[in-house]
Amino acid sequence: MKFSAKIATTVAASAVAVAQVASAGTLDDVKARGELKCGVSGGVPGFSAPDDAGRMQGIDAAVCDAVAAAVLGDASKVTFIPLTAKERFTALASGEVDVLSRNTTHTLTREASLGLNFTYYNYIDGQGFMVMKDSGIKSTLELDGASICVQAGTTTELNMADYFRNNNMSFTPVGYETSSQTREGFEGGACDVLTSDKSQLAALSTEMKVGPAGVTILPETISKEPLGPVVRQGDDQWMDIVAMTLYALINAEELGITSGNIDNLKANPSNPNVARLVGTEGNMGELLGLGADWSYNAIKQVGNYGEIYERTVAKIGIPRAGSVNDLWTRGGILYAPPIR
């Protein structure tokens, strides 16, 4: 008797607890907690992987660092939570993370049915295929009948299915849970081909025994993969903060503001755009519900987009000059709305 009454109390209490999670602004939560919870992949060099000191490094991790700098004034106040492709959306929806910055592709289905919002893109990618160099394969169209290692539950899996169907080719998928398992499978010969976003293929090849020289990334790009940070639906202020922080990093590069020269520029801004971005003119921070030095902190502590790219994605062997990920002023498509 007592026992079942206890159960009932517990059940009722947890029901109330669930009800409370839904509301409350993420900004207030993060401020109260004094720390940003950031969902990352945690195993993709260049995007998010721990360095020798155990600190998460990469272009995805840097977005969270910048948001923490903008909101809390300190880029180090981030707890990184590694998530698999399968866990990521549930983790975000349930409030386990405040921002999901995990090389996640923006698609209609995800935007419309999963209760989340994509902010902007921190890396524009495309899906490709990687084979061992000694296979002699030169084109994706030679892959009829191949076994292909893929991370299960990703858009990669869907693009591949579409591509092979369109080209009347057959294939056998070998689906793994994590991207490092796909690499292990590919190395061990469980499949002939490894497919993923091209940046990830480059990153994974650096971890292989044969190294990047032992593999070929086939020239075809079969999909558009705009990757960027994701937030929960229904918290517009928080969405603005994450998006604007990313825009600030891109605008900083366009305006020539770096982590090195920002203090000088703050003392004598070269023009009003710079002045607004370093927080000496206008009330940009206030409009977002943040301090006036939100963008200053982000740029000072994390660097502008170009700086971030050079120390993360460029390190895994993906040059930026002239690629889609370059600024619009240099032939790329990276274009951020003005901070004013």
Partner: protein, 393 residues
């Protein structure tokens, strides 16, 4: 009696117990209801759609291994994926249960061997395999042993028409070429089986009347294999064999046992067999030695003693804990995601969940499937257990 009715209702212990139980039950039901309602409300509030309408949508991904269903990319729907997942889960569970039972019995018996080396060997096996996490074992066999040691398809290990490589084991597959011939063969086989049943009955009667035994099992086995092949030739060899042929990347045609299935099955078998071996050892030791001595005194041979006296009594102890091992094996098969075997959790609670985002429905259905499989397994085995229990009159 009349005195009892005069007790005021609130002091009647029976009535009070009833009221409190009803209240407690109502509270529990309300708790679950509000939990459910809150979940639904929150899903709506966050703009997360839920429902079963995605079942009939075409699944936009490929599944590599589906031995009994035809899965076709671009035609099969999400609900087909569900059934393919169940099929693959049951397949590995059945294969695992059969192999783990055989191996477990063997190790359990050997564990009691008077030979020090053999019994300690069995002990070492049990202690190693049941004390290492299963996920680690699955990944060990797949990534550290099988993948590196097996060759690429071009250099496959060849055994007649069978090929073994890092993708799996490729076998010829029988295909019915001449359906009348095949029907004829099946009919003749049926007649043969009926004949053997009659023969077995006669032999039993003869044994009871005269005490003379015939090797019924061996005769039947020989008749089925030898006679079956002879009848196959008489029926005009109605089958042809679809042999695997090396294509550009891998073998095409024939049957295939993919490496992930093999690794998973192998690891599940070794792991579960260690537990079953302990059940078997305990069961055999629970039969008192007096039984064996009595049986020897009655003139039964060593083999018959084990078969007719020890094992039937040991089974009563062995079966109940072994049921849980079978259930564990079925549930543990969900660790397949690590090696890329396409069972229920991988394709349904994994890929489909991630592509559709329908966590509530999908996880609910997955839970229900495991629940049903477990209940079915324990139902069958409990029935068997009841049958062999000591009948007390």
């Amino acid at each position: 009696m009349t005195e009892r009715t005069r007790i005021p209702l609130h002091r009647d212990p029976k009535f009070r117990a009833l009221v409190i139980q009803i209240l407690a039950l109502a509270f529990v039901v309300y708790g679950f209801y509000s939990l459910f309602q809150t979940t639904v409300d929150n899903l709506v509030a966050r703009g997360i759609q839920t429902g079963t309408s995605f079942f009939d949508e075409v699944a936009p991904f490929q599944i590599g291994f589906s031995p009994f269903f035809d899965y076709k990319l671009g035609e099969s729907t999400y609900i087909d994926v569900f059934f393919v997942g169940i099929q693959n889960t049951i397949l590995v569970a059945v294969l695992g249960i059969v192999a783990a039972t055989l191996l477990g019995f063997f190790i359990g018996v050997v564990r009691l061997s008077p030979n020090w080396l053999i019994s300690r060997g069995a002990l070492a096996y049990i202690e190693i395999f049941r004390n290492v996490p299963l996920l680690l074992q699955i990944m060990f066999w797949n990534f550290a042993i099988f993948l590196p040691s097996l060759p690429a398809p071009k250099n496959s290990i060849e055994m007649g028409a069978f090929y073994l490589n890092a993708r799996g084991f490729h076998t010829p597959l029988p295909v019915i070429e001449d359906s009348t011939g095949f029907a004829l063969w099946m009919a003749m086989l049926a007649v043969l089986c009926v004949g053997l049943i009659v023969f077995a009955r006669r032999a039993k009667v003869r044994f009871q009347e005269t005490g003379q035994q015939l090797p019924v099992v061996w005769i039947s086995l020989g008749a089925i294999i030898g006679g079956g092949y002879l009848l196959y030739l008489i029926a005009g060899s109605p089958l042809i064999f679809d042999e695997p042929v090396l294509g550009r990347f891998n073998f095409k045609g024939g049957g295939q046992l993919p490496l992930p299935l093999f690794s998973l099955w192998f690891a599940l078998t070794l792991y579960t067999a260690a537990f079953i071996a302990e059940n078997v050892r305990a069961g055999i030791q629970s039969v008192s030695h007096g039984q064996t001595e009595a049986s020897h005194a009655l003139g039964l041979s060593r083999k018959d003693t084990v078969r007719l006296v020890t094992i039937p009594q040991a089974l009563r102890v062995i079966i109940p804990p072994t049921i849980s091992q079978y259930l564990n094996l079925t549930k543990n098969s969900s660790l397949a995601v690590a090696v890329g075997y396409e069972e229920l959790v991988a394709v349904w609670a994994g890929i489909t969940l991630n592509q559709t985002g329908q966590a509530l429905v999908i996880i609910g259905m997955t839970v229900a499937v495991y629940e049903c499989l477990s209940l079915f397994t324990s139902f069958v085995l409990n029935w068997y257990n009841k049958r062999i229990q000591l009948t007390e009159r």
